[in-house]
């Protein structure tokens, strides 16, 4: 066996393990550093990924996630000029992200007349179920877009754009106890 080994350089010989299997010898070289780094890095990443997404519950169920993604796509489509409909606006009102965006716009633009809590002031109350210009989601939408000149409601369409108006309407619907059911009164979907 020694003679087999002599084929290798002297410094390599020290690293050879003292055993041959059917003539096969083995070095016992150190693990390459970059390889070890890859191993440790993937382990550490995995622990961190798990901790972030699973342990702390950041991983949203796909079923839930896709719904809000879908609403986001719809919303973006509005800015491209596609008109919304009753069902869609109502769907938006069940989406927390859209509602909170709508709330921001409302506070900045509408609260001065309709009140911080939609209780009314200069403009009418928006939570009492009384709708002067129609109470379907699209009625609300048109009222905001076109305004009601004779009553002092400005035309918001060119100012806010369809998307932000849809958000505001979603916010108003979400705050409205009389609009907990989807339009048409029937089952939403299913």
């Amino acid at each position: 066996m020694r003679s087999e080994m002599s084929k290798y350089e002297a410094n390599e010989e020290k690293e050879l393990r003292p055993h041959s299997y059917d003539g096969i010898l083995e070095f016992d070289k150190r693990l390459p550093n970059w390889w070890l780094f890859t191993l440790y890095a993937t382990v550490i990443f995995s622990v961190g990924y798990w901790a972030y997404y699973h342990w702390t519950g950041h991983m949203e169920d796909g079923w839930v996630r896709v719904k809000s993604e879908l609403e986001a796509v719809r919303l973006a489509a509005l800015s491209q000029g596609a008109p919304p409909d009753d069902q869609q606006l109502w769907n938006f009102s069940r989406d927390a992200k859209i509602v909170s965006a709508g709330e921001k716009t409302f506070r900045a633009t509408c609260a001065a007349c309709h009140g911080e809590n939609l209780q009314g002031g200069i403009g009418p109350n928006l939570t009492d179920g009384q709708w002067i210009h129609g109470g379907r989601p699209m009625d609300l939408f048109h009222t905001v877009v076109n305004g009601v000149a004779e009553k002092g409601m400005p035309t918001w369409g060119p100012v806010l754009g369809q998307q932000r108006i849809a958000e505001v309407v979603a916010f108003i619907i979400s705050k409205n106890p009389t609009m907990e059911k989807p339009p048409g009164g029937g089952d939403v979907v299913q």
Partner: protein, 796 residues
Amino acid sequence: MSGSQSEGKVRVEYNDTVVRWFLLATVFWGLVGMLAGVVIAGQLAFYQLNFDTSWLTFGRLRPLHTNAAIFAFVGNMIFAGVYYSTQRLVRTRLASDFLSWVHFWGWQAIIVAAAITLPLGLTRGKEYAELIWPINIAVVVIWVVFAVNFFWTLAIRNEKSLYVAIWFYIATIVTVAMLYVGNHLQIPTSLVHSYPLFAGVQDALVQWWYGHNAVAFFLTTPILGIMYYFVPKAAERPVYSYRLSVVHFWSLVFIYIWAGPHHLLNTALPEWLQTLGMVFSLMLWAPSWGGMLNGLLTLRGAWHKLRTDPVLKFFAAGVTFYGMATFEGPLLAIRSVNAVSHYTDWTIGHVHSGTLGWNSFMAAGMIYWLVPRLWGTKLWSPRLADIHFWIGMVGILLYIAAMWVSGITQGLMLNAVTKDGVLAHPNFLDAVTTTWAMLVMRLIGGAIFFSGFVLLGYNVYRTIRSGKPVTASVEVGVRERMKPEGMGLWRAFWNAPVIYSFLIILFGTLWGLGKGAVSTVSFVLLVETALVAMIHMSVSGAKWSEWYERLLQSWIPFSVLTFVAVVIGGAIQILPLVFMDQTVKEDGGWQRVYTPLELAGREVYISEGCYVCHSQMIRPFVGEVLRYGGSGRLAHSIYDRPFQWGSKRTGPDLQRVGGKYPNLWHFQHMMNPRTTSPGSTMPNYPWLFEERADWEGLAKKIEVQRKLGVPFPNYTQEEILARCLEQGRKITEDLAKSGIEIEPDRKIIALIAYLQQLGQYEEKPVGKEVGMGIVGEAGVRSGVLEPKSEGELGRK
């Protein structure tokens, strides 16, 4: 060697005859499997190649190709390589000639049985586990024969210590046995049909625990073992690093098992399992590359031989492809990458960089090295082998490149949503026609690769004719023949490295899956144990390696430890799903129990292999929900035995296809898909209009399903037939309005009944007994409504 002071010598003759037979079988089935691959690649590009003939249709031949390539070609290669190298590595003859022959002929008989039953449409409907139950039993028996023969050989070995190749062989034998039995738990309903014990998500998880690890422990570990024997032999160089062998062996076998759920990313599988599947796939990267490094760096100092030696060329390229495939694998297991790659040709390309690049090239290297030695001659034409190498290389590259291009194109096109919030490519066929040229290129690449293997066949034939079988032998000292001393089970387990590993796995599991204080405390203990273990190892590393060397002299403890390592991952993933509470509210609707006719139709669907091209699992992506409707949930497939989520979309998803088209559409589509879907590459199914559906067998099938907890009514045979007739007539009467005359008992009618109920869910499950625990952590979900209207958007 310790036996140098032996009194006498004994000559041990190796059993190379059985190796020769396995080797010839490898070449033969390699040709068959690859030819089948070329044929079905042709069918995907040119549907006419299905010849309107049931047993020549893609859905039936594709399982034939995969089974032939994996179990016949690579299977025989493994047995040839394992038997040849093991005898030499432990310096003894195979324990039993009888078992060796039973193994050889038994395996070939299984292959022949598979080659007959699959084209006949007799299938279990689970990928790489299609063979029907009588053949499953034969596989288990023959695998046990192999195991007994192998371990018995280890028991009578004349070499104290086990070489790294043997470790990989041990891991292969125990793990494949575990996986195969686990994924083939089933109850027969007839001689050729059975239902899996598990349904829906459970079946999906068990299937991919098996499916992924068939790749791991059938296509990878045994070939790594073969690499560890044949590469240093051919290169005449020492293996690069023993300690790398140790580290990558144990990390590979432990981690691999956990990675199965990456085949189910973004499906209804509970999120925690998906996340486990992803992170363990990432952690698999380094252990896999450990094998590649040890293979490639063993060639250091022998690189110049690559120019002249085709064997080394094949080995070097094979190991390189292994490295590439095992880099691509973790990449594809990342959720967001998988969102694009899954269900597309990219996955097909990935698999073939492994099977063509790694398996076939390693097989070619091994064959070219072995044949001259087994027949006592020289390779007839190294030049021809060289040509084979380059032809094969061109073939693989064409194949993989084509699949990358088409896979990424499909993924991007089918998921694309425009700014207007609608699908960029509402017609699924857009993606089919766009990538069609790539399918042709794949066909060309595959055909070129196949022709390379034909050259191998010819070279082998000429080489064998120029020599004659020789039997090698080895002289061993009488003293060496004594039983090698080893270590008892107690000593093997009650040892620092094992105890630390066990504690780290235990605390890691409790941290990851536990809740609240248990989890926090476990995390602290996990970090602490890891630190203590590291300190302990740096202090007494020598003692640990001494322990390991002793372990290598004891095949039973070594095998038991290997088994423990591979059992853990599956147990932690599968058992929670099996024992979970079964009655949880789901808000996406519940699957309803099939009517008898729909069940008969489902059997047609499975038998024709529809699942190889159509998924039934809509993923939670905007593009998919717009195209197909609300995403798939656990409760949608609670009665599905086997589950039919699928893994590839050559055609569109069918989870909610029911009610989308009229009966007439399905009727015409199955007769000739191009009448309803111009540009479709789907085969015609004329025989479904001639053959009768199996109504008589339904009684037994329903009885077995009732036993498994599916709330079927307690039908009598007459009731079943009456209901089939009633529902069948409704469909035929509907078709008659368009002037179509057909008997209600035809397969097509049952299939239409099945397809039309897909996606027709109920708001509440029938009865209390659902028959399975469908609930993971993700089972508890907030109330969100079903976006059915979205589905309709995609249906225009």
